[in-house]
Amino acid sequence: MEIDPFVFRLSIFILSIFVGYYVVWSVTPSLHTPLMSVTNAISSVIIVGAIIAALAGNNENVFNEASVFGFLAIILAAVNIFGGFLVTQRMLAMYKKKKK
């Protein structure tokens, strides 16, 4: 008997929840807004699914009914990735220490 790959994925999922739990508790409250914008950006890694969906069409018919949704998802996720990381960058650049 082999273990179902789903069980492996579930293990990764559960362990990641715990990693997330401990990592996020150590985030300083003053950076909670950048935390939200960066989590936003990284959750747009969903773009990998969008890319697979978009490239599933064949060459004669780039836009079939399934790949169109992939292309739309690429746009949405790309807005988020670029927007999320850049706005985080912009915010973090503003946090400065007292001039001694």
């Binding site: 990641s16 739990y21 950076l31 699914g49 969906a53 490239l55």
Partner: protein
Amino acid sequence: MISINLLALFYLISGVLFILALRGLSSPETSRQGNFFGILGMSIAVIVTFLSIGNFSTSFIYVIVFLLIGGSIGAFIAFKIPMTAMPELVAGFHSLVGLAAVFVAISAFLNPEAFNLGFTGNIKLASLIEMSIGAAVGAITFSGSIIAFLKLRGIMSGAPITFPGQHILNLLILISIIFLTYFLCSTQNSNLFWSLIVISFLVGILLIIPIGGADMPVVISMLNSYSGWAAAGIGFTLENTALIITGALVGSSGAILSYIMCKGMNRSFFSVILGGFGGADQISKSDNKEQKPVKSGNSDDAAFLMKNASSVIIVPGYGMAVAQAQHALREMVDTLKKNGIKVSYAIHPVAGRMPGHMNVLLAEANVPYDEVFELEEINNDFANCDVAYVIGANDVTNPVAKTDPQSPIYGMPILDVEKAKSVLFVKRSLSPGYAGVDNDLFYRENTLMLFADAKKMTEDIIKSF
């Protein structure tokens, strides 16, 4: 083409880099490096996905074009957006993640072969369940975030919208979603799939409309969490480790933030979600209010008090964001410091409309982050401080939360502003705050009310100095 095992390893690396990106946020010094790790992780995930498909033909060019279109829109928004608009920007971004999850789920449903999930009309059961969860949660995230966005932007009133039978309706809809998923799995009927998505959109709307404006920190955090769970659901469907790891990270991050925000208001998560707080029914209480004496003053009085102080604590709130007073405030603090006065800032966890909102605005105004303190760090200092300058905060300073068990805000942790020798309270009128509770602080012996716009008053104080 790269092998499927190598691909999985690269996705794992992306996942680890995303963990490091969050880890970096434990202090401002390491945060910029953390963000770089995040970007690196994302680039790796995207590039290896291209390599794994190896289809560098016409479609590939279109993918690049669409990516660049989205990317430039995102970059444009990121550079143009004013810092005060950050809560609605984040809500807007959440809605995009949600909708992207819905689209990917739809695409996988229509063309399951592309994802190795079986065939149209005969999709693997586990994949179909995961797909439905991803699509439903994504749709809820999308429509919920749109409502949150409209409320934060002020396009829609921040007042809670409630109607009789609301909770029962929501419950029925949730049950119907479970049934739909069940029938979808047994029949593979695409109409059921579409209904599932439409109903989930509806749930998102119904879920957020009863929640009032000042509960938005919880709502945004909650939607943040949902966007993570949606991504994880899609990750399971696509059997993609990077998505599963990221979804779990984001999901738990949003959940923790919701918890912190609820604790900051001493309210249970469910009471926030059920909504209706701060609605019209609470305001009726104000009719038994007798005319209590209030001391009010002008900018000269305020400047005089501050000149004679040796330490001042600033308490900013949402009103500061509305009045865009953060720059004027920093100038005022510069003036105080020039006069040898010690100044620090006290931030309540739920000040503003999203977690960390005040900190970003102060950072924007060049306030060094080591002068800004959280509630627990600074609360004992109020007793030793000469002047507390409350600008745009209200409920979070109300001593009633400690003394009156009848009050709706009883038990909420508050900043002990009333312990300062004198309190300067900038506010436009004596109207109660969001919770509909009269602030006891207005009538204290040591409080001087400064009736004016936050920005105007702060500028006047600088002039009077």
